[in-house]
Structures are given as C-alpha cells and as structure tokens.
Symmetry: C2
Subunit: 137 residues, 2 copies
C-alpha cells in the first residue's frame, strides 16, 4: 500500500504506463477481468497459467494503482470479487492495440472473445456448489 510516486522515470506517458503495467502478467489479468472473470480462482485458471503468488501480487499492485477494486462477496471466509475501475477498463484500448498487432505480426495468434461472459459471482459460487454435490452423488 505505498503511495504512488509520480514521475518515477520521466514525464513520458508510455514510461509511466510501463512502470505500472510493464511485465508479462499485469495486462493478462486486466484482459481476464475485461472478459468478465471476477474471482481469484477464475483468474488463476487462465490458459497461460499465472503462478498464484504472482497473481496475488499483481492484484495488489493493480489495486493500489487504481486499476482494480476488490469487494468482498462473502464472509467467513471473506472472499473478494475483483473488478476493473474505469481507469482499468480504459486499458481495453491498449489490449485491443496489442491484439491487432499480434494478430498481424505473430503467426497463429488469435483474439479471445471480448466482453463479459459470466453471470454474477453468487450464481457462479452456487453452481460450483451444485457441481460438487453432483460429483459426489
């Protein structure tokens, strides 16, 4: 929870953006959030297989950068749903630029479908519940 120090390296918007997002995982987390994923588990199970400690760290960093907010959706144990702030959602344009570039210049790559997919978190949780019951019965 350190306060953001502005102008870490220069005034350049690119440099400062990369100070926050310049690593292999942050933007993938944003991508998943943009696609409607909400819980830690959903984020952890993306095809790229982000290590769980990195995921926890990135969520913290993105939250302290004002890109992500976490709101508890249940108590005992407390569980958080992660969602993008407007600042975070605005990164959709950046992601889109990457998609366009990647599709055109990296052979075989593809755009994942955009837009939220799931319903609300409670519903998903209930579903998992039933899944458990079914498997057992």
């Amino acid at each position: 929870m350190k306060t953001a120090t502005p102008f870490a390296r220069s005034l350049c918007a690119v440099a400062n953006s990369l100070e926050i997002l310049g690593d292999k995982w942050s933007l993938l987390v944003v991508r998943d959030l943009l696609h409607g994923k909400r819980t830690y588990g959903e984020l952890a199970h993306s095809p790229e297989g982000i290590p769980t400690n990195i995921l926890a760290d990135r969520l913290k960093r993105l939250e302290s950068a004002g890109i992500v907010t976490s709101t508890p959706y249940q108590k005992r144990p407390v569980r958080y749903a992660y969602t993008l702030t407007p600042k975070g959602s605005a990164l959709g344009e950046v992601l889109l630029a990457f998609v366009r570039w990647g599709k055109q210049h990296i052979p075989g790559t593809v755009a994942l479908n955009r837009g939220p997919v799931g319903g609300d978190v409670a519903a998903s949780a209930a579903k998992a519940h039933r899944r458990r019951a079914k498997r057992a019965g």
Copy 2:
C-alpha cells in the same frame, strides 16, 4: 539467437505480444526508435536512463523477434544503426494507445513528440565530431 517458439503460453495475441514486449524497457526502446533515434548512444541517453546492459540485451531480443534491424553505418570500429522493421513500426499503434491511456489516467504525464527528429546517422556523427572540435577549441 534462439529460434522463436510460437505459442509459448497460449494462442492469445495479447499473451504472445507480452511474451516479446512484456517488460519495462522494450517498448521504450521502440518508442525511441520511432522518434528517430538510431545509435546505441542515442538510445542509452533517454530520460529514463536504461542500463546499458539491458539496452544491449533488448536490442538483441528485439532483433531476433524481427522488430529491429541493425545495419553497420561505419567500419573500424564497426557501428550499427538500429531501425524498426515494418513489424516494429506497427507498434506505433500500441504506443499510441499507451500514450492516450497514460495522459488520461496518470496525472502529469505527457506525450513526447512523435515522428523522426534527426537527419541521417552520418550527419549526426559529423555533428558530434564538430561538437567535439568546438569544445576542444
């Protein structure tokens, strides 16, 4: 000089783009190249102060990714001018997306002027030459 392994993590264009560009420095090098910088020294003297070993490493990686080409512009000692391939220039769109996002969401950041600035490398070299002469005289 390892051969590129496609689909390192997934089919996702974003994931694969980040596999190449997902760090704090690569896109800054591309930015500078887009702004017309050509030589190692010019790149090394950006306001962000990239460590020179990182710069050397990034130039190698960007070259083996087909984003940058190096062509010798003098012999004895051989010196290289680094320029963007079409694949590299296409990253201008990505940079632009970062600039727009940064300007809107990171207070105090600014877009550096776009487009090439300098003349050809030989001219710059000659200029440096004269600069040296002047300082000495």
